[in-house]
Symmetry: C2
Subunit: 332 residues, 2 copies
């Protein structure tokens, strides 16, 4: 594949607020463990008031993936909407500082930059409450054709199905990518997102998606079954490649003809699972854009995910390129 | 000692921006490794532009110490000035969320909340560039007598000698503490701070300070000698207790009559030394306020410092009270 960028991604541009929490806090706040819930500004302020002290870090699913691709040495671009405020400045700095192209104009007035309040329980699981803020103002006009058309793979996060305007941006990006003969990858993002938008997501997958990322519960939600393995059979033939992540059980990479079982990377102590799926996608897409075989793509995904769960924060703290070299997975 | 608070602290209320950096970055930017340099708003913006992606976390030397005291189960209060902006909101949330009393009114208009740009080299050393912003508006009026008078120990950071107004707050707090028969502790903060304010600091130490925290280079700067051990002899008799921190060599606790050599706590991998001195002070002051012998105070300091150097960020991520219990150092 040729292209100026290995991956161009569109996503909700979000700053994470990450704090430890007990299981009883999730119960008291009525939070669905491990899921992402949308909240309004008032609820965000109230919930933040009661959360433990935390750290702030640039996040957003596709933004995290772009950062991972860059950390592996890949070229990446990002499209997403921040406000012209302190948090927007942090998001912009971080994604540009890692070397990604990011030129979406910030929102001059209106809602603040999106925040995701992430409560991390002692088992490392993260429970997310997102105030979308400026994200809901991402429009099709923000999708720059020259970025989409010059990327080997265009990556879209399922979370974009929540803000209505962003779905039009989604459609435009897919059309441009298709028109330029580019590959389209989609992450299902969250089982609740799948439940909210199942019909639209399935139609989009069937008509536009080449590469699908999902975990077991998202696959089960997509095909309305409790059996993720049955859901996995359903997806074969609908997309060229499906990569199904299974936490500590690793991942399963399916094509219509082949099946690769990938182990999770060993050794990492689980501190905070925030960003694990995003980094898996980063490793996988970097491998794919650089012509590596599917099993190596999966292993690069495992390696990137293992790095990010070992510390607080959704993006790599150490060079994934160096980790890949140390693990014998450097790009050919 | 009796008091509503174990420790009441006054300091520059700062949000840290912490990012990895190579040694060559420090050279290119003309940054003095391991030191704290004051910068203006424009320089802060320029330097941030060139820094790597990072995380944001509440900081400020005395704020970190207060957070450490709270993590050990102690009662603490904080006085410091933030602006009424997003970063000020983060600082306020974090210090209250850990259980510290903090009621200093934020600055309604004027400079933004202070930021400290921290570049962490691969050896874990941190190099700090601080834009003081709203901190310079901390005034004597912000020093609430009922807080100072009800704390067993009043803790002041040497950094407060930089903003002129804050020095008056410093003097008021010392006077109130002395009047109420409270102990006064001072941290020298930074060798450059000592060089900028040597005369004033020495006069303050001789007349007001009971407990002094310093590292080797700050001690050397205070007494204008290259020999920190000679400087240590100089300090005996000037204060009741001097705790001199020596990085991996541990610390030395001196009184006019006694000397305790304290080892560094073993085991911690050094990721980021930001906050190490602040947490040493937290452990030491918590011990002192709760009647522990001086060697145990030093060990509590070592334990708290070891926790914070094992991760990015200047405040404890795990309960220091639990670590102290596990290490046989729980309060009597």
């Amino acid at each position: 594949m040729n292209g100026l960028y290995d991956v161009a991604a569109i996503g909700n541009a979000i700053v994470d607020v990450i704090a430890p929490a007990g299981e009883e806090f999730l119960v008291a706040e009525g939070l669905a463990k491990g899921a992402m819930t949308l909240i309004d500004e008032q609820r965000a302020a109230d919930l933040y008031d009661r959360m433990a002290p935390g750290i702030e870090a640039s996040g957003g699913s596709a933004g995290n993936t772009v950062a991972g691709v860059a950390s592996l040495g890949g070229r990446s671009a990002y499209i997403g909407k921040v406000a012209d405020d302190a948090m927007g400045g942090i998001f912009t700095h971080d994604i540009r500082a890692i070397g990604a192209h990011f030129t979406t104009p910030p929102l001059a007035s209106g809602p603040a930059t999106a925040r995701c309040l992430i409560n991390v329980t002692p088992d490392g699981q993260r429970t997310m409450s997102t105030y979308l803020g400026a994200c809901v103002e991402l429009t099709a006009a923000d999708v720059e054709p020259e970025i989409i058309e010059s990327a080997k793979i265009v990556y879209l996060e399922g979370y974009l199905f929540d803000p209505e305007e962003a779905r039009r941006a989604f459609a435009k990006a897919a059309g441009l990518a298709r028109g330029a003969g580019r590959k389209i990858a989609l992450s299902l993002s969250d089982a609740f997102v799948v439940e909210r938008h199942r019909h639209a997501l399935l139609a989009f997958i069937d008509t536009q998606v080449d590469i699908l990322f999902a975990n077991e519960s998202e696959m089960a939600a997509l095909f309305e079954t409790a059996n993720w393995a049955a859901a996995a059979r359903e997806i074969r033939g609908r997309v060229d490649i499906a990569a199904i992540t299974r936490s500590e059980a690793g991942s399963l990479v399916l094509t219509p003809e082949t099946e690769h079982i990938i182990n999770a990377a060993p050794g990492a102590k689980v501190v905070d699972t925030t960003g694990a799926g995003d980094q898996y996608a980063a490793g996988f897409l970097y491998g794919l854009a650089n012509g590596r075989p599917l099993d190596v793509c999966g292993k690069l995904g495992s390696l990137a995910a293992a790095e990010v769960i070992g510390h607080y924060g959704p993006r790599p703290e150490t060079s994934l390129a160096e980790l890949a070299r140390a693990g014998g997975l450097e790009a050919a």
